[in-house]
């Protein structure tokens, strides 16, 4: 039986139209040259492709092309934003505000900065996964230099009100960094409207290639960052290293496609997600993790009492889904995101993240719902009575 891929929040396949764009930068007769070698034609052609991609990525974020700094992905972009801003602006203060449900590429740099003498406030979201803007406002201090908040949570799909948080931060003169890895290309972004100073995006979540991302950096007034990498001085000195033309061109193509199809695709995926939840919601005891209404189109996260996560994942090995169970996390602990929402360890263990994407069909969703219902029933049937009711 063919595996049904329902893990688009982890990564997505490269769209064939994107692959075509990438191939145009890879062969000996293609635009493979070093984009910094503008003294010859091939270099200038590669540079033109880079700049076209820069415009496409910027357009998706509501930014100007010169705001885009290429990175290896959202992890590097988040690291550059947090380390770069904290170290550059340290003379103004050493306090950072973030939330407990951020991606590790935000939380780990924050923990590292704590060892460098910074103080970090980790806000706890409500049971719906939402960090309310007044919580952020209340956490700001005279020495706060940075707020880091993700737009869409990678586990629950919950959408944060980054626009209102941006208003709060700008009024207090505090920088706002937003990890938009899960929202770019799926929800409208506008760094100017939402007063976002630093925005991290990645290509592989929107049917682009892995290994390329970008940090969108505010230009007016100019925002200082300390680089992570030093070398050739590319990207205005913020990110040295030869630019990967084929990946960047692919990222640009992915952004153009996403922008053109976003409205229609968001509606289609939301409809599929709602059908999936409708089919699963009648399972006794099942719980939706995160706000029912403020969530990204493609992500559904549920906890299923009475089934252990690792067993459920193995039973559902014909479905490519994620779990918050300890076995499914690199750190070997149940999902800290679900625990921060107040879910018990067992409910975090028995959670499933089902994330839909561009190639998910109605048939995929129906078959997945049928398989999940069947395996939950099978595992619950062998569970001792108290475990079946646990949660």
């Amino acid at each position: 039986m063919e595996t049904i891929y329902l893990d688009s929040a982890a990564t997505t396949p490269v769209d064939p139209r994107v692959a075509e764009e990438m191939l145009a930068c890879m062969g000996p007769a293609a635009d493979f040259a070093n984009a910094s070698s503008v003294s010859h034609g091939p270099g200038r052609r590669a540079s033109a492709r880079i700049e076209a991609a820069r415009s496409a990525v910027a357009a998706l974020a509501g930014a100007a092309p010169e705001q885009i700094v290429w990175t290896s992905g959202a992890t590097e972009a988040n690291n550059l934003a947090i380390f770069g801003a904290a170290r550059f602006h340290r003379s103004k203060g050493a306090h950072i505000v973030t939330s407990r449900t951020e991606h590790p590429s935000v939380l780990d740099p924050c923990r590292r900065l704590e060892r460098e003498g910074f103080e970090v406030s980790y806000l706890r979201p409500g049971p719906d996964g939402i960090v309310e803007p007044p919580q952020v406002e209340a956490a700001l201090r005279a020495d706060t230099i940075l707020v880091s908040l993700m737009h869409v949570n990678n586990e629950t799909g919950v959408i944060q009100d980054v626009g209102e948080v941006g208003r709060v931060c700008r009024a207090r003169g505090v920088l706002l960094h937003v990890d938009a890895a899960q929202s770019a290309g799926k929800l409208g972004l506008d760094v100017v409207r939402d007063r976002i100073d630093l925005l991290a995006v990645t290509a592989h979540k929107l049917n682009g290639p892995k290994g390329v991302g970008a940090l969108c950096v505010r230009r007016e007034p100019r925002l200082g960052l300390v680089p992570l990498l030093y070398g050739g001085g590319q990207e205005r000195g913020l990110r040295s290293g030869t630019l990967p033309t084929h990946q960047i061109a692919g990222f640009g193509a992915a952004c153009r496609i996403a922008a053109a199809e976003m409205t229609e695709e968001a509606a289609r995926v939301t409809h599929l997600r709602n059908r999936l939840w409708s089919a699963l919601s009648t399972l006794p005891g099942i719980l939706l993790n995160g706000s029912e209404h403020r969530r990204a189109p493609g992500i559904l996260n549920v906890s299923i009492p009475g089934v252990e996560g690792e067993s459920l994942l193995l039973a559902l090995s014909d479905l490519a889904v994620s779990s918050g169970s300890a076995c499914a996390t690199l750190r070997g602990e149940p999902s800290y995101v679900l625990r921060a929402l107040g879910r018990s360890e067992q409910l975090a263990q028995g959670s499933l993240r089902i994330s839909l994407g561009r190639y998910t069909t109605a048939d995929d969703v129906e078959r997945a719902a049928m398989r999940i219902r069947a395996e939950v029933g099978r595992l619950r049937a062998i569970a001792p009575p108290m475990a079946a009711a646990a949660g």
């Binding site: 039986m1 595996t3 009475g306 089934v307 252990e308 690792e310 067993s311 193995l314 039973a315 090995s317 014909d318 300890a326 076995c327 360890e345 067992q346 263990q349 099978r378 049937a381 062998i382 569970a383 001792p384 108290m386 475990a387 079946a388 646990a390």
Partner: protein, 131 residues
């Protein structure tokens, strides 16, 4: 269910087919013993029918990871023909060896050993263990 290299063939077979799952019906000569893991919520209920001083039928209910479920299934076969003393002395390492369970999962198998010992303590004529 697709093959998964993280689990041995016997673990996968038992997890897929669940031999021995369920409960022994009736009360006469039937022992029921439960054990719960202290940390991760794993739990098992063994139900055993005894006759002529040995286990003649064994079944399990379990909540836990695939290794735990497979080991509980394996144990129901291992215990057939076992005396009370054999039950009391059964060691979880036997299941670990038989199913090639990785050391990181050994902790859960101790819960099975706890259930076997609770069953021995509840052997007909002995002090009943709570289920």
């Amino acid at each position: 269910m697709h093959a998964d290299p993280r689990y041995g063939a016997e673990v996968l077979r038992r997890f897929r087919e669940l031999p021995g799952a369920g409960e022994v019906l009736g009360d006469e000569g039937v022992i029921r013993a439960r054990a719960d893991a202290a940390d991760d919520g794993a739990c098992v209920v063994l139900s055993l029918r005894t006759a002529r001083g040995v286990v003649v039928e064994a079944r399990f209910r379990a909540y836990g990871c695939p290794y735990f479920i497979a080991a509980a299934s394996w144990l129901t076969e291992r215990l057939r023909g076992a005396s009370r003393n054999e039950l009391a002395e059964w060691d979880w390492r036997e299941a670990a060896d038989a199913l090639e369970i990785p050391p990181s999962r050994f902790g859960r198998l101790i819960t099975l050993q706890d259930a076997a010992r609770a069953a021995a303590a509840a052997w007909p004529g002995e002090i009943a263990a709570a289920v």
